[in-house]
């Protein structure tokens, strides 16, 4: 009588593993999902008039991108590097009254998305650098290392106030 029960033949474990691996390779993606996060402004309710806050002209930074992707700031042409330092100075000067400054970005319909993202990137960089500087001065840590409450406090001093508009086409409503 056979005493020795033969072991289960495990030579096909590798095949099962290959199958599972192939499944995962096909159905998943490494996902390059890094980007710039933004919040769009809400639509005003139909009975409320659109609020146009009265701001002094000097508290508004007007940026415009035309169809050839040329950037102008308050009607003078500038480059991307200058934009970052210009925006930083603008926001910094108004840190005591953070709700009164506004950055207006106006695009032409034919401006390329690349230029738009480049400008958004520089503005985000300006805000991030200012917030980081404040975080280091106050708590000796970088902005990213702060906890939620401290980050909210920093954001209150340097809120992101960017408003966007686009040239309407002929007969367009907005």
């Amino acid at each position: 009588m056979r005493r020795n029960v033969p072991e289960i033949n495990s030579s096909s474990t590798a095949d099962i593993a290959f199958l599972l691996l192939t499944f995962f390779l096909i159905t998943t993606s490494m996902g390059s999902d890094y980007g710039l996060a933004r919040r769009l402004p809400e639509l005003p309710a139909p009975d409320q008039p659109t609020e146009t806050a009265k701001l002094k002209e000097r508290n508004v930074l007007r940026l415009a991108l035309d169809e050839t992707d040329r950037l102008t700031c308050n009607d003078e042409p500038i480059s991307l590097e200058e934009l970052r330092s210009r925006a930083k100075t603008f926001i910094d000067e108004r840190e005591d009254a953070p709700d009164e400054h506004l950055i207006l970005l106006h695009c032409h319909r034919e401006t390329s998305y690349k230029a738009y993202i480049a400008v958004q990137n520089e503005l985000a960089a300006a805000y991030n650098e200012l917030r980081d500087r404040l975080a280091r001065a106050r708590w000796k840590k970088s902005y990213a290392a702060l906890d939620a409450e401290q980050q909210a406090a920093v954001r209150e001093v340097y809120p992101q106030r960017i408003s966007e508009s686009t040239t309407p086409t002929e007969g367009g409503e907005w």
Partner: protein, 154 residues
């Protein structure tokens, strides 16, 4: 000394492959951890713009993908060369966006609705007119959290 016999082994013993499954399992776990389930395949060709101030998109919150670009190779014969909008996994028109987004948001719980993000993957040469129209359509559907996808500038 007479007991030792040289006639036995001639060849080199075969490689022991008993640990091959373990290697494969290691690879498998790596892929399971590092990747996320792909919801939709972009049917449009997209070259992402470059940026430096990038934040990661949290995949835990419900995400709707909007791809904008020229149709990819396989679809180019039917659809030509114009920039197209793709919502999640099917081509769509601008007018479809508010309806689609409102329907998606109704189906979410209140908490999810606040955190829901729309991920915009737009080709870098797209004219801003289309993007502005899409943003306006999203505002109408009250989908206000937007994420512009970009790649890291080297």
């Amino acid at each position: 000394m007479g007991r030792f016999n040289k006639t036995g082994k001639r060849g080199v013993p075969a490689l022991n492959t008993a640990s091959l499954p373990d290697l494969i399992f290691t690879l498998l776990f790596f892929f399971m951890i590092v990747t996320n389930m792909r919801d939709s395949e972009p049917k449009v060709d997209i070259t992402l713009p470059e940026a430096t101030q990038l934040e990661k998109l949290e995949r835990k919150t419900p995400v709707t993908f909007i791809y904008v670009g020229k149709p990819s190779e396989t679809f180019r014969d039917e659809l030509g060369d114009e920039t197209r909008i793709q919502l999640n996994d099917a081509y769509a028109d601008l007018a479809d966006i508010p309806g689609y987004m409102t329907a998606e948001r109704e189906a979410m719980s209140d908490e999810n609705r606040q955190q829901a993000v729309v991920s915009l993957k737009v080709d870098q040469d797209t004219p801003m007119g289309i993007v502005a129209d899409i943003k306006e359509a999203l505002r109408q559907a009250d989908a206000l959290n937007v994420h512009y996808v970009a790649q890291k500038r080297k």
